[in-house]
């Protein structure tokens, strides 16, 4: 089941569509768990008070903006929401633009929107209309403490939402631009010909994360040699070496696999 990070409404014109948002990136496959070396018990991150060193639970935590030494302005969740009340529960499409007009430099993170139960038909309608027009809806919305500029467009049968950077985040190019390059027309043309010759279709599956593959090979080697350890809370039988190796192989195949997204 996908994990949802937000739920609210998406509006275009007067049409109001209830949706949930889920990340389109999934980097959790090659992930490690921190363990205590002596008993292999998983470790959890806890927030502790810098004064008394004791664990502070979520209910006793507040968000503070630093103003001077050891002084903070506390800002609560409801205060944050109240700053942009319309944008924290609703993604309102303000305009439609050509998908190709969104320069990739602005792209930040990809998500999917999925319809809430009962909203499948308006959702399908927006997907189809965006596909036929090749357009993306531009909207703004607020998630926790941040406002996002987003583009909503269709990929296959889904609505994708991509968060965009704001223009003022773009770093200046001054000081990077070459100063007085000596350009030889022939050299440019020769290189342009080489580029043309080396042009072929892009297939992301051709590019593999060699680091992750090597890492999983090392884990596979360890599984073969030492098998798995059990945490004190583990139930069920201890996995055999071969079973541990198979589990690692499955992840290794995932990072190597050629597949369609």
């Amino acid at each position: 089941m996908p994990e949802y990070v937000w739920s609210g409404t998406l509006t275009f014109g007067l049409v109001i569509l209830p949706v949930r948002m889920t990340p389109a990136e999934d980097t959790g496959r090659v992930a490690f768990t921190m363990l205590h070396d002596k008993d292999n018990a998983p470790l959890h991150r806890k927030l502790v008070c810098s004064e008394d060193g004791k664990i502070v639970n979520t209910g006793d935590q507040v968000r503070g903006f630093p103003v001077g030494d050891d002084d903070y302005v506390v800002v609560t969740d409801s205060e944050l929401e109240s700053l942009s009340p319309d944008r924290s529960k609703s993604i309102e499409i303000e305009q439609f633009v050509d998908v190709g007009a969104i320069e990739p430099i602005y792209i930040d993170r990809p998500y999917y929107l999925v319809p809430e139960e009962g909203a499948e038909r308006p959702y399908s309608l927006l997907v189809q209309a965006l596909t036929e027009t090749g357009k993306a809806g531009i909207a703004r919305f607020v998630l926790e403490a941040r406002e996002y500029l987003v583009a909503v467009f269709s990929i296959e049968d889904a609505l994708a939402l991509i968060t965009l950077h704001f223009e003022r985040q773009r770093a200046p190019v001054e000081g990077i631009t070459p100063e007085k390059p000596q350009l030889k027309r022939k050299a440019v043309e020769k290189l342009a010909r080489e580029i043309k010759k080396a042009t072929r279709k892009f297939d992301p599956a051709e590019f593999k994360d060699e680091y992750e593959i090597d890492l999983m090979k090392i884990v596979r080697g360890k599984a073969k040699k030492e098998g798995a350890v059990r945490s004190p809370a583990a139930r069920g039988k201890k996995v055999k070496k071969q079973e541990a190796v198979e589990a690692v192989k499955e992840t290794l195949a995932h990072v190597r696999e050629k597949r369609n997204t």
Binding site: Q128, K222, A244
Partner: protein, 257 residues
Amino acid sequence: MPPRAIFKAVLHFGDNEIPVKLYSAMTEERVHFRLLHKKDKAPLSVRWYCSKEDKPVNSENTVKGFEVAKGQYVVVEPDEIKKAQPVTDRTMEVHHFCSPNEIDPRLYNRPYYLGPDNDDSIYATLQHALKESGKVGLCTWTMRGHSYYGALKPYGDILLLETLRYAHEITPIKSLALKKRKVSTAELDSAIALIEQLKDTFDPSEYQNEHQQKLMYFIEQKAKGKKPKMERPKRKKPTRPGDLQKTLERSLQRAHR
């Protein structure tokens, strides 16, 4: 202040070697909060806790485990993980070129400016050749112990390198288990007409981070001891599927005005 390069590399393509410097193209812009203890406003810090003993654990007493079954792990030592890390050789290999529109927007990760490193002429030659060809170059390199791939393209008078996500890092659409529903031609026509009416050219500079400006103002007011007024967010009532066509028509009429 001149921008500071974060990495140096040499682009390799055929017999061509082009020394370059990398710069961040987007800066992080957000309001940074600290988590505090509610009762005394003391800042909080993160510690690892053992799930069995409920005691803090120092980092030298931790190991990493790859979970192969619920609660069962293959243990990997830090120096073994280090062994997998690729050696940074500062070579950026350009493998081939493609059209920019072949790259799925979900893949774009982080943009970097590429500037010349000592040799302006060879850099400008590549920049011009790439611009004239209308293509982007697909490169691989290692940086800070990780392997990257990315798209190299002209950007104004310089080059831009966008790191790309690996295909296996994208959640497949079929995992969303979407149910495609039939829509009527009338509904589709109205929705397309509405999109056409609301279409515009995209100018990112039209958008300011208004929430952040409001947030900074709010913090200032609160710091002065004032109590800013609060508004509650409202959830909107969804359009009933049966009213879809009617709502689209009303939207069209409104957009017309």
